[in-house]
């Protein structure tokens, strides 16, 4: 279908700097996201991976305009999101699932109020009966039963709480959901259930996901395409299978070598690439390529200019001078 190749979300040169105060009057920008561009196609799942502090979550939140971007455009369905009215309409189409199922649910609200909140805000129902029916329908989607509606979040387990969070994100009937590490706070057996639920919901409701995670196996399972971030910059973007089989960027290669392999023989044969040094602080990012301080192939050129994200094979983008 032609509709499925169309871009639903397009991010152009997105920058998100946070001012950090240094002394009394001086502030220094913390470049959490520095010039990132990518697109998300309608109906696909784009996985976003990278280590802690590389700006994954900031990208997700900035796309939803939870932070005002320092510069760059967010284009949703062909229209840039700029004015307050745009954002208000955008909130009905794009929602978010949060990482921590414990702090993302208000402890003083019942489950039905939590799930119904987006409905209340956008006034998406005619009367109390309609609201209740919609909430029960949403609870059905995520496998909660109706008698949970009047309970408080603390009465549920982590997996159930995450389901409540997912039901809330589905309330406005969105097209696009940013999933910000939705399973990393859950244990493995529950992770599988929740991941499968994401898959089912995508099929049933035709959703598009931006799936942020640091668990590479989870991301490979759910994503159609994967983007790798390092220190606020995007270093590689390709189809999920392509990036796992033929990673190109030195950072992606080392990241993927850290994925545990279930077969011990194979695991012993694989060489784990251990990077030296720590991730630099985004406050004092290295000049040129951010990865050059830890890159085994670093050259003089890497310190001077930042490599552009370029297409090295069809649909496979990487940002590195040596490629």
């Amino acid at each position: 279908m032609s509709e499925h190749t169309e871009d639903l979300v397009e991010i152009r040169h997105l920058k998100q700097y946070f001012p950090v105060s240094m002394g009394f009057f001086k502030t220094k920008p913390l470049k959490a996201v520095d010039d990132v561009s990518f697109n998300i196609r309608r109906g696909e799942t784009l996985g976003l991976v990278g280590e802690s502090g590389c700006g994954k979550t900031t990208v997700g939140r900035t796309i939803l305009n939870l932070y005002k971007p320092t510069s760059g455009d967010i284009i949703y369905d062909g229209k840039p999101i700029k004015s307050k009215n745009d954002i208000r309409e955008f909130r009905k189409k794009a929602t978010m699932v949060f990482q921590d199922p414990y702090s993302s649910l208000n402890p003083r609200m019942t489950v039905s109020d939590i799930i119904g909140e987006p409905l209340d805000i956008h006034k998406l129902y005619g009367n109390a009966q309609e609201r209740r029916e919609r909430i029960l329908e949403l609870m059905g989607y995520v496998g909660l039963n109706s008698e949970h509606a009047s309970r408080y979040a603390h009465e549920f387990s982590g997996g159930q709480r995450q389901r409540i969070g997912i039901a809330r994100s589905l309330a406005v009937n969105p097209e696009f959901i940013v999933c910000d590490e939705p399973v990393s706070a859950l244990d493995v057996s529950i992770q599988a259930q929740v991941i499968n639920m994401f898959d089912e919901l995508q099929e049933k409701l035709g959703l598009t996901y931006l799936f942020i995670a640091h668990d590479l196996l989870v991301v490979r399972h759910i994503s159609d395409r994967i983007a790798v971030m390092y220190l606020g910059k995007m270093v590689e973007l390709a189809d999920a299978k392509e990036i796992y089989d033929h990673p190109q960027h030195p950072y992606s290669i080392s990241l993927l070598s850290a994925v545990p392999v279930p077969d011990p023989k194979e695991a012993r044969a694989n060489k784990r690439i251990v990077l030296s040094g720590d991730i630099p602080s985004p406050l004092n990012a290295p000049s040129g390529c951010p990865f050059r301080t830890r890159c085994p192939h670093a050259q003089k050129q890497c310190a001077e200019t930042m490599p552009e994200l370029k297409e090295i094979s069809p649909g496979h983008f990487a940002a590195c001078h040596i490629l």
Partner: protein, 349 residues
């Protein structure tokens, strides 16, 4: 399901319907408040204090309604008759001359439980009335403090940035002024201003002094409440559920009312409960200094102050209001502590 002869399988039919329902149902939903009240009920000191507060409050409200004497009625003064000095300074359970005569005629006279004061007014009803005033001042002053403190604190904490900076510097300024001095200055200045402006209005009966007391509380004592609430809001607004509400499109007002304030409810209840005794205390010492309620209206503080003149002959006139103040303040404080223990989530592990 078909039952196999040697199967160990549990047969659901063996259970009576209540048991089945019991197994299916989860325990009834318990809310934060139910939990807190359950814990509060276990605290004997808090329950006793609460009981004392209720008894004193009910007495202060209802006794003046049916008591035969009024707080400003001088019993020895009957229009058209010479002043009967036998009613002045009666000891507890003594009677004036005319009352003794009526009792001999067979009438029953309500005794002067605490005697009368130096103008022949029944002291018991004056104490009750004073309690009423003190409680009312304490209660309304706390509400004023709560409303101002809650509004300023939550806006300052939620909006942050420059707004927060400006509000907090104002708070610091008010905070750094000496409390007592400001209270006395404000009370005496407001007394002058209000006395003239209130004439002829419905507020005149309440008295300019009480109104100036409320203003003093409103102006001075909201700062600690505002600080407390700002601190709470500052930490709560980092929570992900606030971000989730923003992502759903909620505006600032909704986030403050629906998400932030309900989550600092325990702090609000506790500090309001502890604010009441401090307001009563302030009212008492202001009345004691002569800046409190207008005569002839009594308050516990002014009763104590008047009693000082005759403290050698009639010490009980000082002791009684002092005991009542202590009882109210002590039980409110203990009840407030009980509330804190019951509702502060950090304490219950």
């Amino acid at each position: 399901m078909e039952k196999k002869p040697f199967s160990m399988q549990v047969d659901m039919e063996d259970f009576i319907p209540e048991e089945k329902a019991y197994m299916v149902n989860m325990r009834p939903a318990s809310t934060f408040f139910k939990d807190g009240i359950r814990r509060l009920k276990k605290n004997k000191v808090a329950v006793v204090s609460f009981f004392i507060i209720v008894v004193i409050t009910l007495a202060a409200i209802f006794i003046p309604m049916f008591w035969p004497y009024s707080y400003d009625q001088m019993l020895g003064m009957v229009p058209g008759q010479p002043v009967d000095n036998s009613f002045l300074n009666l000891a507890p359970f003594e009677y004036g001359k005319s009352e003794i005569a009526r009792m001999e005629a067979g009438e029953t006279i309500v005794p002067h439980i605490f005697g009368t004061d130096n103008q022949g007014r029944d002291y018991f009803i004056r104490v009750i009335y004073g309690t009423r005033i003190s409680l009312a001042v304490g209660f309304f002053a706390s509400i004023i403090v709560l409303i101002i403190g809650l509004t300023v604190g939550s806006v300052s904490g939620y909006v942050g940035g420059k707004v927060d900076l400006v509000i907090m510097r104002i708070v610091d300024m008010i905070y750094s002024l000496p409390d007592m001095l400001m209270v006395i200055l404000l009370a005496s200045v407001l007394k002058q201003v209000l006395e003239t402006s209130l004439e002829g209005t419905a507020l005149e009966k309440i008295g300019s002094n009480i109104i100036s007391l409320f203003i003093v509380f409103g102006v001075l004592y909201w700062v600690s409440m505002a600080r407390l609430i700002r601190g709470q809001i500052l930490s709560l607004k980092q929570q992900e559920y606030v971000l989730a509400a923003k992502a759903a499109g909620a505006k600032g007002g909704r986030i403050i009312l629906k998400h932030l304030i309900p989550n600092c409810f325990s702090v609000i209840i506790i500090s309001t409960a502890l604010q009441i005794p401090s307001a009563i205390f302030t009212e008492s010492y202001l009345s004691f200094l002569g800046l409190g309620v207008n005569a002839p209206m009594p308050s516990l503080g002014s009763l104590a102050s008047e009693a000082l003149n005759g403290v050698t002959s009639y010490p009980y006139r000082l002791i009684i209001p002092a005991i009542v103040i202590s009882l109210i303040v002590l039980s409110l404080n203990l009840f407030g502590d009980g509330l804190r223990d019951a509702f502060d989530p950090k304490l219950n592990v």
